[in-house]
Symmetry: C2
Subunit: 355 residues, 2 copies
């Protein structure tokens, strides 16, 4: 099969360095014979890493970039000063059409800001969003939550667009025919929550009654429902979504620590841990953030996959796998078509502003 | 010692019924010889439950109430129609000064609404808040998070008051001399987040520089910091706090399910679970929501402890223990004095409103 799906990679972002990223490229190349790479970063570092891996022979183009955007760099500064960076170059490669999708482990804020600048919002999209896969007890084993931090604000129209974009991601990423969409709120009763949520709920209800609606709107859901399998796509603003995501990650980390302490506490529990080793490893794998690696930026003219900053080769490979599926299935075009098809009402002008 | 701390109990709320609540009263009475109870509910049900427990002899006054507020009742309806309910009577007993603190396992929204109506806001408090104890890896083993759902809105002045009220709770509940306070945000950088957060951060910074400030302001924290032990009091609006709390509970529940599945998966892991049983139970105890039972309503003229709806006798007893400590230490008066002492700027009038 021809290697005709091109993925643009920022090899300098992330905490684990270029060797983890090249390691991930190798893992994915072994499993997938349709991928080619354009890699951006310091050629003096990348060339030897790539050359010594036989699996990458003839499928990698290295494009030298001098600069690296620091993990703590503020987005506004990255936009002003990042032109010579590997991240900028990786996104420009998608902008020019040399690749369909970009992957980076770098600074999320900077990646979003430069993505907005280079790829621009898809027609009709007001606020792009970051979507993540979330471990779930449902049959698909994962849910999709968005926005988890592209923008701290979202009005009713944005929330409806998140529902539409998240639906496309769920259809492709979770292979669901008609995903169930819920709006994150502080209660499931209809009267609860902020005005934007009330309005978005009405709009989703109405959209959902149209015969060709690609999702089922299930109503308001609460924080405890995110991983429960009662919905597939959870829609919220980027402030709430970011807090929820980081709270869940923190809770999982705390329980892992407590579990390890408990299993090391007595000689009996240590013996128990030995007996249960395989099963405990399976549990760890199920909760491993590297396996569900990759936030996706939705609503741009091009696909961008953000891998965890601390991703190792396994994590990078998971992000590349996701990027491949998005590219292969024409994800960007599908999202744009869905957003365009949604005949939403015009964006209400914010108070105190002409519009 | 005289039994002179009187606790007013709504015996009809909650999912486990009056027998769990009377069971919790017994547990607390066994451990504490300063408590007396005034119990509200159906006397025909309560009298036999109380009479058969020798530990409650002479320390319980039953006050009959016909009505029960349903767990799914809307707050507005509960306020209109709840006058004959056990919840209403429990709060009225605090209002009249017959008891210092009320405990209920009932409907949170209704309890908050009726508390506001009967006890009213303490002088100077704009929005009362619900605070919870949150398991933490820090030395105190718990943090305090507020607001987790009393009000979905909070402006800068409210957030500052939450910090002050949460500080008093931490000093009493966690026995900390000078609690560390953080504001929940989507990043720790100073420029991030909503305008109200920016303004509250400036105010807390300024307050914290005064010589008698009872807390240390540490700045913005993220969702992942809530259980990490870098702060003692996490301040946020009731919408975000509610989503964070329920997301954390949901994550813990999901991991418990996955862990049980993992330990039951093979014959080896079952043997392992047997060996590790005591340690796994210790872990369960550490994460057990019943042990940290009791959200506290802050900012009212009287203390109210909300126990989990599904609390059993152990959970109810934990809530009573907390209520006892609040009453014994004059918590309500302390919070009111602190709020009054804070010479904050006047509340800015919302846009479009005269003030």
């Amino acid at each position: 099969m021809a290697r005709n799906i091109v993925i643009s990679i920022d090899a300098m972002g992330g905490d684990s360095g270029p060797s983890a990223i090249v390691g991930g490229m190798v893992k994915s190349a072994q499993k997938n014979d349709e991928i080619r790479y354009i890699v951006h970063g310091d050629e003096a570092v990348l060339r030897p890493l790539v050359d010594k891996r036989r699996e990458l022979d003839g499928i990698v183009e290295i494009r030298h970039a001098d600069g690296v955007i620091d993990m703590t760099e503020k987005p506004a500064r990255a936009m002003r000063n990042g032109r010579n960076s590997s991240m900028w170059a990786a996104l420009q490669t998608v902008e020019r059409g040399d690749a369909t999708v970009a992957v980076s482990c770098g600074n999320t804020g900077a990646l979003m800001a430069i993505s907005m600048l280079r790829l621009r919002r898809a027609p009709g999209v007001d606020r792009p969003a970051i979507a993540v896969l979330w471990p779930s007890q449902g049959p698909a084993r994962y849910n999709i939550v968005l926005d988890v931090g592209a923008d701290i604000r979202a009005d009713a129209r944005d929330l409806v667009q998140y529902a539409i974009m998240g639906t496309e991601y769920a259809r492709l990423g979770l292979e669901l025919d008609r995903p169930r969409v819920g709006l994150l709120n502080v209660g499931t009763e209809e009267h609860k929550g902020r005005a934007a949520l009330q309005e978005a709920a009405d709009d989703l209800e109405r959209l959902c009654q149209q015969p060709d609606c690609p999702f089922e709107y299930v109503g308001f859901v609460e924080g405890g429902d995110i991983g429960r399998g009662v919905v597939d796509v959870i829609v919220t603003d980027g402030f709430t979504g970011n807090v929820a995501l980081k709270t869940a990650e923190g809770t999982a980390r705390m329980i892992r620590t407590f579990l390890r302490e408990a299993m090391e506490h007595t000689i009996f529990s240590r013996i128990g841990a030995l007996f249960a080793l395989t099963s405990l490893r399976r549990l760890q794998k199920r909760l491993d953030p590297r396996r569900v690696n990759g936030g996706v930026f939705l609503g741009l003219n091009g696909a961008v996959v953000k891998s965890h900053g601390s991703a190792d080769a396994t994590g990078v490979s998971a992000a590349i796998k996701l990027a491949f599926r998005l590219a292969k299935n024409g994800f960007t075009e599908q999202v744009a078509a869905r957003v365009a098809a949604q005949s939403g009402k015009p964006h209400p002008a914010p108070a105190g502003q002409e519009g």
